[in-house]
Symmetry: C2
Subunit: 489 residues, 2 copies
């Protein structure tokens, strides 16, 4: 693709999120300083671009040549990052403008969010940016993480992998706190953007960038208030049919509203209003932060089912009944299986098992049947468009049985790994071959052998029956929202 006409690279935010060169203000050789920490984050991820620390006194910063003034830099960098005391932010941005820099991240706080004088300061900052044609993130933000570009300017070390969740957040630290959380499920951010006070770049700009970003399969939003309501609706309506958007709105209740106000200084609107807005423009609403990431996960990883009919497969009654109950409460139907399916299923199910939906094996001696032959039959049934599989393998028991047969430890480990690998591969193939949604759920930790392999193969395994069911319901809801949107065209 010719970069000159690439619409993605032409988006105003592109250089801000994929800079080739950075002027960094506020890092020193004092390791506990916020700015130093943030520059260290950039270095830790082995950023490939050029970095120019600017510091009034130091000649080197973290081993790099430092410049006393931005005017002295040998080139015009794509991006300036400002982690400076409030009082010198505006003049520094002005100097950047004069150098010709057109993109900035203003981490510094002390503006609109503190009220009073801060508001005036923010107006000045915006005026300077306008004067020089600068687009900037913040102020009062934590910056950007773009693992696909090895670029992490947040204060937190990035401990993850490049993923498919593009996120814009009105809480910056939330992003950083999700690095390790997402990583345990083998998922991650394509890009995470902390929007701060949104003085220049707001959440709608981020949505437009993420819509075009080829690494982003789903857009997640943490919202305390939407400033440009109409622009949000318009952007969401045009993006949602092609790329799912999931939003968590924290300002819906009285206490949430107050917390949001003291956090960003913005007023939040009533819950029902946001509910209506989200529905109207095809945005899937998450009722908690946990759900925000659960929904992003499955929407980025699964086929969207054509109906609300699903099958639950379990070998344990409790989690199966809990999943069935959650299905009912979340508007999912559990159809009876077709006669054909039942005939194919019978030889695979123990005598004590049940072929009603949930399919309950009551116990599972053969993980390959449970994770391959049976799901294969179930996914072929025309009665349903989604499959929820309880994933729990009695690792300790299998180990015990093998030990009693005199197998040495290393053979047990090798066998366990090989079984886990095979199961994950079968499941992956099944998910690929059937245009149906496949979601697992478990109570086992993500580092248990089979769970780990399933996660690594890209199959979402949610940490409880209810979360698995809610995630399946989100897929179905998204399908319906898109139908409604496109029906209106």
């Amino acid at each position: 693709m010719n970069p000159v006409t690439d619409p993605y690279r032409d988006i105003p935010l592109f250089p801000l999120i994929n800079p080739r060169s950075i002027a960094f203000f506020g890092a020193s050789n004092r390791f506990s300083a916020m700015g130093t920490n943030q520059l260290n984050s950039i270095l830790a991820l082995d950023f490939k671009g050029r970095i120019y620390p600017v510091h009034p006194k130091e000649t080197t910063v973290l081993g790099m040549k430092a410049y006393a003034h931005v005017a002295e830099l040998p080139e015009v960098p794509d991006l300036a990052v400002l982690v400076l005391p409030t009082g010198i932010v505006t003049e520094t941005l002005k100097a950047c403008g004069e150098k010709g820099i057109r993109h900035a991240i203003v981490v510094s706080g002390g503006f609109n969010e503190v009220g009073g004088e801060g508001k005036a300061l923010e107006q000045e900052l915006v005026a300077v940016a306008r004067q020089y044609g600068i687009r900037f993130l913040g102020p009062n933000c934590l910056g950007v993480v773009n693992p696909h570009h090895a670029f992490n300017v947040t204060f937190a070390a990035f401990e993850g992998r490049p993923g498919f969740i593009g996120m814009a957040s009105q809480s910056g630290s939330l992003l950083t706190q999700m690095f390790a959380y997402l990583e345990q499920f083998h998922i991650g951010f394509s890009t995470g953007i902390s929007v701060g006070n949104e003085a220049s770049v707001d959440i709608v700009d981020c949505m437009e960038y993420l819509a075009a970003c080829p690494h982003t399969r789903v857009i997640g939003l943490y919202i305390e208030s939407i400033r440009r309501g109409e622009a949000f609706i318009e952007a969401a309506r045009s993006i949602a049919p092609h790329k799912p958007i999931v939003a968590y709105y924290a300002g819906g209740s009285e206490a949430g509203r107050r917390a949001a106000f003291s956090h960003t200084g913005a007023m939040a609107g009533p819950d029902q209003l946001y509910d209506g807005v989200f529905r109207q423009c095809g945005v899937v609403r998450a009722s908690s932060l946990t759900e925000l990431f659960d929904f992003c996960w499955v929407l980025g990883a699964c086929t969207i089912p054509c109906s609300h009919r699903v099958i639950v497969l379990t070998h344990s009654g409790g989690p199966g009944a809990a999943a069935a109950d959650a299905c009912s409460r979340n508007g999912l139907a559990l159809p009876s299986l077709s006669r054909q399916t039942l005939e194919r299923l019978m030889p695979l199910i123990p005598k004590t098992g049940s072929t009603a939906n949930p399919i309950d094996l009551t116990f599972s001696q053969d993980p390959l049947a449970y994770f391959k032959s049976i799901p294969e039959v179930l996914l072929a049934d025309d009665e349903a468009d989604g499959l929820l599989v309880y994933c729990f393998t009695p690792h300790q028991n299998m180990k015990r049985i093998m030990e009693s047969q005199g197998l040495p430890e290393k053979d047990i480990d090798a066998f366990t790994r090989e079984t886990a690998r095979q199961i994950a591969e079968h499941m992956r193939t099944l998910a690929d071959n059937h245009a149906k949604a496949l979601i697992g759920f478990t109570y086992q930790a993500p580092d248990m052998p089979i769970i780990e392999h399933l996660l690594a193969s890209g199959i979402p395994i949610l940490p409880s029956p209810e979360r698995g069911v809610r995630a399946m319901a989100a897929l179905i809801q998204y399908g319906r929202l898109v139908q409604n949107l496109t029906a209106g065209d």
Copy 2:
């Protein structure tokens, strides 16, 4: 205490859950057999009592002398465990009765839960038990785990610690699947009982046992249907004021009901009926399996707050706002802090922070202030009776800072461990010194240094703001239920 008059030891279920000697039917030297597996579970936990395998052909089973017939045993064991084909269960129980055995666990299925002939077989089994005065668990159950007695007869290896959650479950495998799940939070079962078809011992009998059990601080119930409604209400009403009861009911929705029916063969009642029953008799209802264990955890670990007023402490806006929002939605109030508290707090909070409730530090450089000095001030405020603390320490960052200062790896580890230990100790002391509820919430994995130490010290750290808030609300709900119960006396 004289065992002869100890009311706990006199409970009919006592020998079933704390046997000194066991006759085991259905174990062989075939390692994949269910019975062998269950006997292996008993052996694996280093059970201190005597075990007598009974097998028609083998002379030894798993290295122990085997007996061809129960009549040949050198003593009358406290308990018989039957993992046998359906057809020979009744005659075996009869032989046990003739030997003088008065307690049994019937793991075998093929009775009421399969309908038809199975129902007749269960009636015969009950008749034999009546004839010999035998009380038995099951049929169609997984048995008992009592880690305080090193007794685990379930098929799953016990990977946990003796804990304080006494559970009776109509799903047996659910119990076993929670062994590792609870262990990761440093909690565990005092006793877990799989009730199966409840032909002789039912969930009400288990509640009465668990109410008397000194290791049990809270009773958890997984319910698909209650057979003896009036007895349940009477038992719960008398137990709840002294020991909290938490119930998850899976049969409330149409699909849950059908799943429950095919699982245990019992009919479930409408959701509202169970809701009313639970409220009426002081039982806290959990809306998911995850909540069942969350609620048991905090009810066993925390002081019950006297009001619904709580404080949220955070250093990150997103999780703080999410917690505040969840508080509103769950009926908790976030009062403003008293003037006195604000005065004491000011010097401890960064300039960018907020002392509205949530208290948001926006960033935290000093974990000892965050986990000690600030909570100490907040817990002293008369305006609130509960404290929710966001627990997230940027482990990688702290490590990075120490590394940049040239600290060797092992000193960093030692320092991290020591800080974590101190923090956990401070928090534990605070929780002990104030008669208030203290619950943490986090997105970090339970094995992160500080989280791990906090969990080990017995402070509940829930895995999300919403779960932390719901758990706090459960404490408050329990307090109110007990008030209502005792007001009616």
